[in-house]
């Protein structure tokens, strides 16, 4: 990764958290412990802080509000998160809250060139279904987050219905948006079991963690 600090932004429900967890875990082999900043106070469900213990065991420190406050949806940013973004010399991945959640970055006034800022896009997600919508959303995120995006991540999926052709059709949409924004598409994120059917793409094969309780794998029942 070019920059040691990676910010993940996007529409809420675009898949930022799954991508953030994947990237943070992929950095565990380095000398410094990766930090995953959960800056999401937009929605109180499906957040990286929910799997903090599992990630800690794998070598990722999840930074979340202290005490019981992490269970809230209050606009609390841990001091340690600000510290990590401005002073930590190890790898940092910031999982920013969806949409308006990017304002939390705006308050930090990060200097361009000190970070990689990626917008995660699911072109099947209501609100980012056309290149026009993605471009508009990207410009708005840059404005309220006071950052410059450096790339897009294609996360085209229809949840459990996703087939390889959905990923490819979605990629074409995301590439068109990226062309209009003059940004690269850095990766395509897919459910790990679809990876073999998508050769030749720069993939992030995801093991999904933000799953509802009724999707518990059969193994968890035995």
């Amino acid at each position: 990764m070019k920059a040691a600090r990676t910010l993940l932004l996007g529409h809420f429900g675009s898949g930022k958290t799954e991508v953030a967890i994947f990237l943070a875990l992929s950095l565990c082999a380095g000398q410094k412990r990766p930090m995953l900043l959960d800056l999401d106070f937009i929605t109180p469900y499906y957040r990286s802080r929910d799997v903090a213990d599992e990630l800690a065991a794998a070598g990722v420190e999840v930074v979340r509000p202290a005490g019981e406050l992490w269970r809230s949806d209050l606009p609390v940013v841990a001091a340690r998160a600000v510290q990590a973004l401005t002073a930590y010399d190890g790898p940092v991945v910031a999982d920013v809250g969806g949409g308006e959640g990017a304002r939390v970055l705006g308050s930090m006034r990060l200097s361009p060139g000190t970070y990689e800022a990626l917008m995660v896009v699911n072109p099947y997600r209501s609100g980012t279904e056309s290149p026009e919508q993605v471009v508009g959303y990207a410009r708005w995120l840059e404005e309220i987050g006071r950052i410059r995006l450096t790339g897009l991540v294609n996360n085209a999926n229809l949840g459990p219905l996703t087939r390889p052709e959905h990923v490819l059709e979605g990629l074409a949409q995301v590439e068109e948006a990226a062309r209009r924004l003059n940004l690269p598409v850095r990766w395509t994120a897919v459910r790990a079991d679809l990876a073999d059917a998508l050769p030749g793409l720069d993939l992030l094969p995801l093991t999904l963690r933000m799953r509802p309780p009724w999707e518990a794998p059969a193994s968890a029942l035995l």
Binding site: P44, R125, E215, L221
Partner: protein, 354 residues
């Protein structure tokens, strides 16, 4: 060809479905975990020429709803548990005034402020009448985002048909979970509402009120309402039976609990256990008929599962009426049961009979 699918959270899908159903007035007040719904309406209503209004409180919102409904338009309000409590007075007034509308409760942990995690502990309030007076209202409880879309559209039709508020009941998990959905074409009716307040130009004036000082008249009015409630009980009970055909034990659950229980039922079937799932889709009228039949057909035990201390289980017992044993398993305070926990309960109950 598969239909056009889009990924939406439950709360957003509910908002879009309401708009497709012709809802053009939304009055609300933010509260987690349903705030995506007013946020969605705030963005979408201006696009369709509708009105979104963030009221100063839930009380204000429900009374704005009453005003809008009195003009005959399709209107909705939404909240989560503490806010739903605040709306009870308005619901009673609307039922007394025979006004159609949709009231959403995306439940969270209680009592009091509780927390912002999913719960089903408002069942008594929704089903038995949290407000005052002799009243009933249909309560629809979807278990998936697509079903949430379909039942939202149905809710508006039922409200208009019976001139009565309809409750749409979910929990935080259903509101926050994202799933692929499609929107069916909706036939919006322009039926003349001959009771609506549309301006009494060239016609006799109409009055909408829940006030009736003469007790004889109020009793007669109550008889009219009771006849409507009886018709709803007769016609509107809805439920789903899953793998119940040869079941010895049937799990009874609604909404999110039902979805989790279904995974447990599948696991139990894989282990050779004869287990089924009975899922009420309407909480009121409670679909007891199917339960009675299953008990008569030889189901020996029912296991009621709720994210509450045991509320719906009372209606299950009334339907089973001693023909079979009814057990209960619940999680409280925003805790969600896992399929494994429910499977454990099933195994324990069935093992105990061997």
């Amino acid at each position: 060809m598969e239909p056009m699918m889009t990924m939406m959270k439950g709360n957003e899908a509910l908002g879009e479905a309401a708009i497709r159903a012709g809802c053009r007035f939304f009055f609300g007040y933010p509260i987690t975990p349903q705030s995506e719904l007013p946020a969605y309406m705030a963005r979408r209503m201006p696009e369709v020429g509708g009105t979104f209004l963030q009221a100063e409180s839930e009380l204000a919102a429900v009374n704005m709803l009453l005003g809008a409904a009195a003009t005959g338009v399709r209107a909705m309000t939404s909240s989560s548990s503490p806010g739903y409590s605040l709306k009870q007075e308005g619901i009673s007034y609307m039922i007394g005034s025979q006004l159609p509308c949709v009231v959403v409760n995306i439940m969270r942990g209680g009592p009091g402020l509780g927390n912002i995690q999913p719960s089903q502990s408002d069942y008594f309030q929704i089903v038995k009448g949290g407000g005052h007076g002799d009243y009933r209202m249909i309560a629809l409880a979807p278990a998936a985002v697509q079903e949430l879309v379909d039942l939202t559209i149905l809710a508006f039709d039922l409200a208009d048909f019976y001139r009565n508020p309809v409750a749409l009941v979910g929990d935080g998990l259903l509101g926050q979970t994202m799933e692929p959905v499609s929107f069916p074409p909706v036939k919006t009716t322009d039926d003349d509402k001959d009771w609506a307040l549309t301006g009494a130009h060239n016609r006799p004036k109409r009055v909408i009120t829940s006030l009736e000082l003469n007790p004889e008249n109020l009793e007669a009015h109550n008889r009219v309402l009771q006849a409507k409630f009886a018709a709803m009980e007769e016609r509107e009970a809805r439920w789903e039976e899953y793998r119940c055909e040869d079941a010895e034990l049937v799990v009874v659950a609604y909404g999110t609990s039902a979805r989790i229980a279904r995974a447990a039922v599948d696991a139990a079937r894989n282990m050779g256990l004869r287990v089924g799932l009975y899922r009420p889709i309407t909480l009121w009228p409670f679909p007891g008929e199917g339960l009675t039949r299953l008990a008569e057909q030889g189901v020996r035990r029912f296991l009621d599962v709720e994210m509450s201390s045991g509320q719906m289980v009372e209606d299950v017992k009334l339907a089973v009426l001693g023909r079979a044993r009814v057990d209960f398993y619940g999680r409280l305070g925003g805790m969600v049961p896992t399929p494994r926990e429910i499977l454990g309960q099933i195994q324990e109950l069935m093992g105990g009979e061997a």
